[in-house]
Symmetry: C2
Subunit: 387 residues, 2 copies
């Protein structure tokens, strides 16, 4: 019960025995069928999309209803299954996916790696806007999905001034990026930006996010239009969307921003702070190798949402934006293997992200795990041949 | 009839008098209701999605049926409307959208503008892979939709070595990019790339594409993760999807690629060439200002599709990838205003892209027009206030 008590109540989509997927919440180790519990057919659907689109007022009502109905445990006669007995699905249809780069420690670590001669590891724009790019929505998969090692072009840098010549093959520098993903419930129409102070009306909840990254493919392709094939093969999310409402007690100040940001990135002073005191854990083959602290992030999700719509870009139900790699100041707090400096992923390696945050009254709010195992292309070819 | 005869027969989605959108083809100046003409309910839907997903065999059958049924004009009693009497809609649900950078002339022109001191205007990766980035699918709109001038951060470069300081406001360097967009009918599962030689089984058709670009916003934001807000406010497509099958007579050799490309980007020698002899026309406020020739493109759509899936990334029905700005060698053949060098878009400016290609037996294949007018944020606010 510890991480999934009545102060959490995340949303997901499950199925049993190959049946139709339906919406659920989680109480302790029980997956509770929401349509059965609440008598609301919006939860008999195979995604949370329709519920997400209903907006903050309805989200609050449903949460209040859930807390009341589940206060004494799962009511007798309500459909529920042990977490180990269900299959979890992608909880919502990913509309557009954007990835930010919001950790100063991570951006500085990569700046030192990639531009060792530059005394300032951050580029000139970094403290003025939350740098970001659009990623592939169709590659977002749910925890537990195997990740096929991507092949692609790599070209080692030359030292004699000659032109690099690329070769093709499986990535040899396959990495993770431990992030949070933010799920848009209600979007904005084209031409009408979302103000930072209104982010709460639009953001439904939070998932764990692993932005698998092939560093060798990325290094060769990314000039001048940014990363593409080095990222687009797969991104994994946790199956449970933790509602923002469950994270009230985790709201903390973000680090002081200096220089001051432009007004559209400012929250005003009468709003709850938008930092989130969420502690992540990166497990590699059963061993915890890092503990990235989300509270250290320079840019907040409210600022990210205000930025990505300030040009009039619309967002939609199911839009997902991720924070970028979460790295704290310590070597044991980095969110990627390249920063850790002890090698990249081997075939068969399994990575699990976990996280928890403070809830009300001394409770803890857990996130579902975000798990993925690396398989070779050959393993996949074999499976194909056997079909 | 000239551009929309029975050798063309593009697909679109229309409505009349606020009724439900339905699928149509175009014969001359008539919009012909497909569900009524063919008695197939897949065309009574508000998008082409379900038809696109049926695959090459069905696409060919339907096209043969259409040509037979329309050989002598629209049969009496079939629902049809003059093109001026209908409203056209986005013809399919855009899944993921990727933009390439496939014109050597365009990439060289921009290289000379942005890196004047470098003797080679192309970056080292450009001739080895079709450089590309993922764009915002939710911002793709149909021809005729007004485009709100985006606001954002701009920071003029400093000459004294001091740090640039951004200001916020409407873009003052708003540009177009004249492109073709390629529509995926049948995608590939994650982990299973599409071979260049198989592109024909996956690609359904072609639209005109205007990738509106705010050069000032883009210049400040794009390092190191590529363009985002400078592009994500809007992209416009033509309402008619011209099926690949209508472009057989337009297939021409692509320019010789030197150095030789890696095997996954090679078509083999037994396949029809993948260049497309499509002539575009850029009209600005009623005057044709440029005629970009698609046949000059260095990378072919088959290579683009092979590249974007070679890492195992899945594609889906409705995936859209665009060619990047089409620029020929001549000053009057460039696909963007920055290359033309005579200023950027003012409020009220209207841009129309048109195109035509050779069809069989001396016919011509037309594309629907791709039209957009720039409006200020203030104009939009007024309209909002009046509602």
């Amino acid at each position: 019960m510890e991480l999934f008590g009545t102060t959490n109540l995340p949303y997901g989509v499950y199925s049993v025995d190959g049946g139709a997927p339906r919406c659920a919440t989680r109480l302790g180790d029980q997956v509770v069928d929401l349509a059965d519990l609440l008598g609301d057919d919006v939860f008999a659907l195979p995604t949370l999309d329709a519920f997400l689109a209903q907006g903050r007022g309805r989200w609050d009502e449903v949460r209040a209803g859930l807390r009341a109905r589940l206060a004494d445990g799962v009511p007798a006669g309500t459909t529920a299954h042990p977490v180990d007995a269900v299959r979890m699905h992608l909880p919502f249809t990913v509309a557009d996916y954007v990835d930010f780069y919001a950790s100063e420690h991570h951006a500085s670590n990569l700046g030192r790696l990639f531009r060792p001669d530059n005394p300032n590891p951050l580029l000139p724009n970094w403290k003025h806007l939350p740098v970001s790019y659009t990623g592939r929505a169709g590659s977002v998969v749910v925890s537990g999905t195997d990740v096929v090692r991507p092949s692609g072009q790599r070209a080692p840098a030359t030292t004699d001034g000659s032109a690099p010549v690329p070769t093709f093959g499986p990535s040899t520098r396959l990495d993770i990026e431990a992030e949070l993903g933010f799920v848009v419930g209600v979007g904005n129409p084209m031409g009408t930006p979302i103000e930072a102070a209104d982010a709460e009306e639009h953001l439904f909840g939070v998932v764990l996010f692993n932005d698998w990254s092939a560093r060798d493919i990325q290094a060769w392709e990314y000039v001048p239009l940014g990363p593409h094939l080095g990222k687009s093969f797969a991104s994994t999310i946790s199956p449970w969307v933790v509602p923002l409402a469950a994270l009230d007690a985790a709201r903390v100040d973000t680090p002081v921003q200096d220089p001051a940001v432009l007004p559209y990135l400012s929250l005003g002073t009468d709003r709850a702070p938008w930092g989130l005191d969420i502690d992540l854990e990166v497990e590699l083959n059963g061993e915890v190798v890092s503990r990235p602290p989300y509270a250290s992030m320079y840019w907040s999700p409210a600022q990210m949402l205000a930025h990505l719509t300030v040009n009039g870009a619309p967002t939609r139900t199911g839009d997902l934006f991720a924070s970028g790699t979460i790295s704290g100041p310590g070597k044991d707090q980095v969110g990627s293997l390249i920063e850790r400096g002890e090698g990249f992923l081997e075939d068969g390696d399994e990575v699990v992200l976990r996280a928890a945050a403070p809830g009300p009254d001394g409770t803890r709010i857990g996130f579902g795990e975000c798990r993925g195992r690396i398989v070779t292309s050959r393993q996949l070819d074999n499976r194909k041949a056997q079909q």
